[in-house]
């Protein structure tokens, strides 16, 4: 069978014009599909950045919260109630809000301010410079060195600035796993200082971060929090909720879905049409093979191999081009939100397999129906 597949391979790749057209079609489709889905994955990942970076097992919040950025503050007593629930090992408050940093030229730059529990500093970032206890120093803030860091004029340790007209000082430079979605820098401080610096409503607890005693306690904690009128979600559930919001309640999901489907249809059209033409142009050759003694199964294997080889080569090229584009974009725009996930790759591969299957089906039907007698008659 290897020899038969080798014939199929040579018939395919030695027809350079057709093979190139097939590859271009699939590569283009894969690249577009990958680009769209990577962009979406990047946006979703950035949208959940605080959830990933904080690392809490359970998040307690107002049920109306849709994304981590639009927290709805809860009364302080909720924290005490949660702490008293059976199965809770500990629970700490988290502050999340937006403040305005005054730059040297007098302009203002919005910054995301995260207030960590004063006692435990639970959810703190890892430090590149400075000491963790310095966060308790007067007016102390950590700045996150990410793609947005330069928007605060790349401050060093010891730099002083104004935040919401309060005096503030950088006491450490931090690193987090994931940058935020909205393109603004991030500052960390203590929970109480954050409350002092940022104007707030009557209630100030954005989220309560909970660590259960064991994994078996999670369901019970979620149920009890629900009875209290609030929502408790695990880290994965919260990121899924955020993803659902962007996917179904904004235009983002449907737009990206449309682009992905259009890419798929374009790829399918180009590849299907070109493969069909390839088969039609070689139909007499397949007929001759059939007359010589090739079995139906062998002809099917040849066509499947040709379609699969083309599809996988195009898939690899498309994936490579997408990765290259993202890499180039990152060079220019460090906060460019696009990541290639295994899910994206799987989706694109699945679509390419469908393209290959449809193209093969058309080819196989044509070849199986060719009568060697027609070759004689020609």
């Amino acid at each position: 069978m290897l020899g038969i597949l080798k014939i199929a391979y040579k018939l395919l790749v030695n027809d350079r014009a057709k093979f190139a057209a097939l590859l271009i079609g699939i590569t283009f489709a894969v690249s577009l599909m990958m680009q769209m889905t990577s962009l979406f994955a990047g946006v979703l990942s950035r949208a959940s950045a605080t959830v990933y970076n904080t690392g809490a097992s359970i998040w307690v919040m107002d049920p109306a919260v849709q994304t981590v950025a639009n927290a709805i503050p809860m009364p302080d007593y909720v924290l005490d109630q949660v702490r008293s629930l059976p199965g809770v090992k500990y629970a700490v408050p988290l502050y999340s809000g937006i403040g305005l940093v005054k730059l040297k030229d007098g302009a203002y730059q919005a910054a995301n301010v995260i207030g960590l529990d004063d006692s435990t500093l639970f959810g703190r970032p890892s430090l590149l410079q400075g000491n963790i206890q310095d966060i308790f120093a007067e007016n102390g803030f950590f700045v996150v060195r990410d793609a947005e860091y330069s928007k605060l004029e790349s401050p060093g340790v010891g730099m002083e600035f104004e935040l919401n007209d309060h005096h503030a000082r950088i006491v450490g430079i931090a690193h987090v796993a994931s940058a935020g979605l909205f393109g603004i820098p991030t500052l960390y401080t203590t929970y109480n200082r954050a409350r002092q610096y940022l104007p707030s409503t009557r209630f100030t607890t954005a989220y309560i971060l909970v660590e259960p005693k064991g994994a078996g306690d999670i369901d019970a904690i979620e149920a009890r929090v629900h009875e209290m009128g609030y929502l408790a979600l695990t880290k994965d559930q919260f990121t899924a909720k955020i993803s659902d919001f962007y996917m179904y309640q904004t235009g983002l999901g449907i737009n990206l879905l449309l682009m992905t489907v259009i890419s798929f249809i374009v790829g399918l059209s180009i590849s299907g049409q070109t493969f069909y033409t390839f088969i039609i142009e070689n139909i007499d050759k397949f007929g001759a093979l059939k007359a010589i003694g090739a079995k139906g199964g062998e002809l099917i294997a040849m066509i499947l191999f040709q379609a699969t080889f083309t599809a996988l080569t195009g898939f690899g090229l498309g994936l490579g081009i997408c990765a290259l584009i993202i890499w180039l974009a990152h060079l220019r725009l460090p906060d460019y939100a696009a990541i290639i996930t295994f899910g994206n790759i799987g989706l694109a591969l699945g679509m390419v397999v469908i393209i290959a299957a449809v193209s093969s089906y058309v080819g196989v039907r044509k070849v199986l129906h060719i009568e060697p007698f027609d070759i004689f008659r020609s």
Partner: protein
């Protein structure tokens, strides 16, 4: 008596349905023998190609049977019949139907590769057969770089590479000039034909009749005459023995 290679019994083939039905072959019976070249002639539409397709196992007759060395080929399954064609029959198509994307040697090796022979062994054997047809030095060229006569020789090499005992050639000289056509058929006569091989050639070319042992004439789907030709040739004994109209 010479050994029967092919026995066709009352072969009938019709195309179309109802009013549009056309009888392409009407009850043709004949035998072809090992060691002979049987030429099939007749005007266009006389049913030559249809008859040849039925005895080659690529067009199922509506009635009658085809026995090759005692095997009724139309009782075989599709895959068995394909295997039978692959091992017992060699085809030379009118338009050669060579693969332009393969080299000449690879083209010739196709039947061996379909027989699951090792790629390199098949190529080596193909090159040997290209030597036989005088194209040893052209084995790595694509067929489009060869002349019409050379392509015909490649098609012949492909037909004989699996050492089939029956060769079927459809208008082998149709696309060739007179001298080249004659030289091709002479080559078949001198180099390819042997006592364990039967060769059937459909032709319109009167210039190659001298290379046949028997001549079978068809008209309107019927076998009108089958007679010995090429008197004084080495295969005369066959002609004499079997020159009886079916």
């Amino acid at each position: 008596m010479p050994k029967v290679a092919i026995r066709a019994v009352d072969l009938t083939k019709k195309f179309g349905e109802g009013e549009a039905i056309a009888l392409a072959v009407r009850g043709v019976s004949f035998e072809a023998y090992f060691g002979e070249i049987l030429l099939v002639v007749g005007p266009s539409g006389s049913g030559k190609t249809t008859m040849l397709s039925m005895i080659s196992g690529i067009l199922r007759p509506n009635a009658g049977k085809v026995e090759i060395e005692g095997t009724d080929i139309w009782t075989l399954s599709a895959d068995r019949l394909a295997e039978f064609r692959l091992k017992r029959l060699g085809f030379v198509f009118q338009d050669y139907h060579l693969f332009p994307r393969l080299t000449t040697a690879e083209n010739v090796a196709v039947p061996l590769i379909l027989q699951r022979r090792d790629w390199q062994d098949a190529l080596a054997e193909a090159r040997r057969d290209l030597e036989i047809v005088g194209l040893g030095s052209r084995s790595e060229l694509p067929p489009v770089k060869l002349s019409g006569g050379e392509q015909q020789r490649v098609a012949i090499a492909r037909a004989i590479v699996g050492r089939p005992d029956i060769l079927v050639l459809d208008e082998p000289t149709a696309s060739l000039d007179g001298d080249t056509g004659r030289s091709i058929v002479k080559f078949i006569r001198d180099e390819i034909l042997n006592q364990s091989r039967c060769i059937i050639i459909i032709t319109h070319d009167a210039r190659i009749l001298e290379f046949g042992d028997r001549l079978m004439e068809m008209a309107d789907g019927r076998l009108t005459e089958i007679k010995a030709i090429g008197a004084g040739r080495a295969h005369e004994r066959i002609a004499n023995a079997v020159a009886t109209p079916a």
